[in-house]
């Protein structure tokens, strides 16, 4: 159901066969798949229509490049188009003038940041995240509780402020526009250089509340007005964003809850109706989970490839590069021992709950169900190896039935588990042996170049989204 665009296109073009140039009918068939993929990702229909028209104009007549399959070529065109759109109009973000924080600073007096959006989108949490971030950069933010509507909304911000040791302005009762006005005056007096206004959630069709937030903006003259958008939103994102944009001087969008597996096509919809850039993304409930926005990552996510780059980066942080290389080297040389295997397990453990981050890939969560990525299993496997003698670890061939029983007892596991581990180890070695002898796709993966994929290469890959997409989209076994 939630196939990636790459898979969809691949099946179209395998039906069509080899091509030298993309004809109109080829492109039309591909466009149907593109349309479905984008709609499944929650991109608004009107945006999908415009996008497919643009893509068609670019693709028809395009020569098929020798070394690339036509589906990959079309996928690349789509990807490029999305990256372009998600990048927003150049010049809409003022150049960062404070150590890279993309905030429009006030020329004099405190910088006022207004957070607005629908109910439950993540405004209060984002206010706290932003305050924390700015504080860490040496600023002195003041948080303002301007949601006098939802039960315990003020308390929520107070608790967050206290945990971050950031002051919160709040009042027992009163109207939000006045409260915000007083807060800005207080910030000026107290020497806070940033004021972050947490407003109540409101529906774009609620005239009264839209008037209220407009009043807040009129009184506080915010330098930044950020629309907080839940990345799981569907088609309605265009309707609400449009009204918020018309009612407020929006300067940008914050996309929240991207730590799930939503494709997040609403981001594209909102960008295209408001023309305002995504400034930050929220990737968790904790106050440190605020990240800059990467159009290229978002594009691959919408197209169903997951945020592969983020995954690679996370994995890289956990894996010590040299260790990985050494282990790979040994695997290929055939000198991979149980000790090396133990080390591998430890690295996997360091990456944290495997399922958490694999779950970031759209469609992956259901696939993972049932076939447990079993963290306890890793612990037990480690215990098995740890119960082996140095000799046994070096030369597992000596592991006879008696030794295996001893290991099972010593590690508190079963004979069955010990046998499985040894079998797994042997299979791994066998596989590697075969790899060395055939130059197929796995052989290529084993290529030194791949193994030594270094950080700068990853960065380069990200810059040229192209390579990354082609790499990930190439199905196993294909050239």
């Amino acid at each position: 159901m939630f196939e990636s665009l790459a898979q969809r296109l691949q099946s179209v073009f395998s039906r069509l066969g080899r091509r030298t140039a993309l004809t109109e009918s080829d492109v039309d068939e591909a466009l149907r798949e593109i349309r479905t993929a984008l709609l499944t990702a929650d991109v608004h229909l009107s945006v999908v229509k415009k996008l497919t028209a643009d893509i068609k104009a670019r693709a028809v007549g395009e020569k098929v490049i020798e070394s690339v399959r036509p589906d990959q070529q079309v996928a690349k065109i789509v990807y490029d188009e999305l990256v372009r759109l998600l990048g927003g109009q150049p010049g809409t973000i003022s150049p960062p003038n404070d150590g890279g924080i993309p905030i429009r600073w006030s020329a004099s007096g405190p910088t006022v940041i207004l957070m607005a959006g629908l109910q439950g989108s993540g405004k209060t949490t984002t206010c706290a995240k932003l305050a924390r971030y700015l504080k860490s950069k040496g600023h002195r933010p003041l948080l303002v509780a301007a949601d006098m509507q939802r039960p315990a909304a003020v308390e929520q911000l107070k608790v967050l402020g206290a945990s971050l040791e950031i002051p919160v302005h709040w009042e027992e009762s009163g109207r939000p526009p006045k409260i915000c006005e007083r807060a800005v005056a207080k910030a000026t007096a107290d020497g806070n250089d940033v004021v972050i206004l947490d407003t109540a959630g409101r529906l774009h069709v609620d005239r009264e509340l839209m008037d209220e937030v407009r009043d807040i903006a009129a009184r506080t003259k915010p330098h930044e007005v950020l629309l907080v958008l839940d990345s799981m939103t569907g088609q309605d994102a265009v309707n609400s964003a449009k009204v918020f944009d018309e009612s407020l001087p929006l300067t940008g969008v914050v996309l929240t809850k991207l730590d799930g597996d939503t494709r997040g096509g609403a981001a594209l919809s909102v960008l295209s109706v408001t023309g305002k850039p995504v400034r930050f993304v929220g990737t968790g409930e904790k106050t440190e989970a605020l990240e800059p926005f990467h159009p290229d990552r978002m594009a691959s996510r919408i197209l169903g490839m997951g945020d592969v780059v983020s995954l690679v980066e996370r994995a890289q942080e956990a894996m010590k590069q040299e260790e990985v290389e050494k282990a790979a080297e040994k695997l290929f040389a055939g000198s991979f021992t149980m000790d090396d295997m133990l080390q591998q397990f430890e690295q996997v453990e360091r990456m944290g709950p495997l399922k958490d981050w694999l779950g970031m890939i759209p469609g992956m969560a259901p696939a993972l169900e049932g076939q447990e990525v079993d963290e306890k299993g890793i612990k037990r496997a480690k215990a098995v190896i740890q119960s082996m003698t140095a000799e046994e670890r070096r030369k597992p061939d000596v592991l006879d039935a008696g030794r295996r029983r001893r290991i099972a007892r010593g590690s508190g596991t079963s004979l069955d588990e010990v046998n499985r581990l040894i079998k797994g180890y042997k299979q791994m070695k066998l596989m590697m042996k075969q790899l060395r002898s055939d130059g197929g796709m796995m052989g290529k993966m084993a290529d030194r170049r791949m193994r030594k994929m270094k950080e700068e290469q990853i960065r380069e890959m990200r810059r040229q989204g192209v390579k990354l997409t082609e790499m990930d989209w190439a199905p196993e076994g294909e050239p």
Partner: protein, 307 residues
């Protein structure tokens, strides 16, 4: 009051009126490709999703071919009943525990409207003379316990709250203990928002369900997933994962007082066989009604005559 009237009422103060959007569109028109395209647009922009939309339009086309739909005028009633048929039967009733306290567990992704829906359920149950206790098992989010506590006080229902960062399963157990020993009719358990992809949090939810069952046989008798009515196709994955970890028995669709239509429930019902039980149409405890397939279907097409 039906959900449709409710919706109209809560929309009264807004700029938006429920216009007969499709009706105006199709009136007196002949059946042609342009018309099909417009029907498709209505479905797609209501979050029905490309697959379910294709299916619906295909069956409508077939009906037209068979002479069941002769002009645009027949189209709305046809579609309305086709969509309603997909969502039936209406199952708004709660599965009561005949032998004691009925336990209702509420779950869902972050910010979907769980805590507010509990307030609404309380009001709904109080109006039916049920005694209620709510349990604040969201010990994670800032002031989540206070939020439910305020509602409990306002609505005059019992309250069991955990301290900050207390084990939610332990709070659930305490609440079950308290509800059972006091013999209250219903215990409603609020849980922290969690994304369905977070394995440890989903396991925590499973644990809460197990703990409840230890104290009260068969509990939770209902596990309701609160789905944000503005959600898109991800709603399907959410529901699937929650069903797997917490044996969801039905849905509450919140925030239908905006312009979102919640069309993803069509696929949810189709693929996961889960009924929508209630809908939320505002921020107050009154903005709540049982779900009726007919009313929902009418709202989808902006048709305002049924019920």
């Amino acid at each position: 009051m039906s959900f449709f009237q409710k919706l109209k009422q809560s929309l009264a103060k807004t700029t938006q009126v429920l216009a007969g959007r499709i009706k105006a569109l199709v009136k007196g028109r002949k059946i042609d490709d342009a018309l099909w395209e417009e029907v498709e647009e209505i479905l797609l922009t209501s979050d029905v999703g490309p697959d379910a939309t294709t299916e619906l339009v295909a069956s409508a086309r077939l009906a037209a071919k068979n002479g069941e739909i002769l002009s645009g005028d027949d189209l709305v009633p046809w579609l309305r009943s086709a969509v309603a048929a997909r969502l039936r039967p209406d199952e708004a009733d709660i599965r009561w525990n005949a032998g004691g306290t009925t336990v209702i567990l509420i779950a869902g992704v972050n910010g979907s409207g769980k805590t507010t829906s509990i307030a609404k359920l309380c009001k709904f149950l109080r109006a039916r003379n049920k005694t209620v206790i709510v349990a604040a098992c969201d010990t994670f989010r800032a002031a989540a316990v206070d939020q439910l506590g305020i509602w409990a006080k306002r609505l005059d229902v019992g309250f069991v709250g955990g301290s900050n960062n207390a084990d939610p399963a332990a709070v659930a157990f305490d609440a079950a203990e308290s509800a059972a020993s006091k013999g209250v009719d219903v215990l409603i358990v609020d849980t922290a928002g969690r994304l369905h992809t977070q394995k440890n949090l989903m396991d925590e939810l499973s644990k809460i369900t197990r703990v409840l069952g230890k104290r009260i046989p068969g509990a939770p008798h209902e596990t309701l997933l609160v789905l944000d009515g503005t959600a898109g196709q991800n709603g399907l994955q959410q529901t699937r994962a929650f069903r797997e970890h917490a044996n969801v028995t039905g849905l509450i669709v919140s925030k239908l007082d905006g312009t979102a239509k919640g069309g993803v429930v069509l696929s949810i019902k189709d693929q996961l066989k889960l009924p929508v039980k209630f809908v939320g149409t505002g921020e107050s405890a009154d903005d709540f009604a049982p779900f009726y397939a007919d009313a929902f279907s009418s709202a989808l097409f902006g048709e305002d005559e049924t019920r």
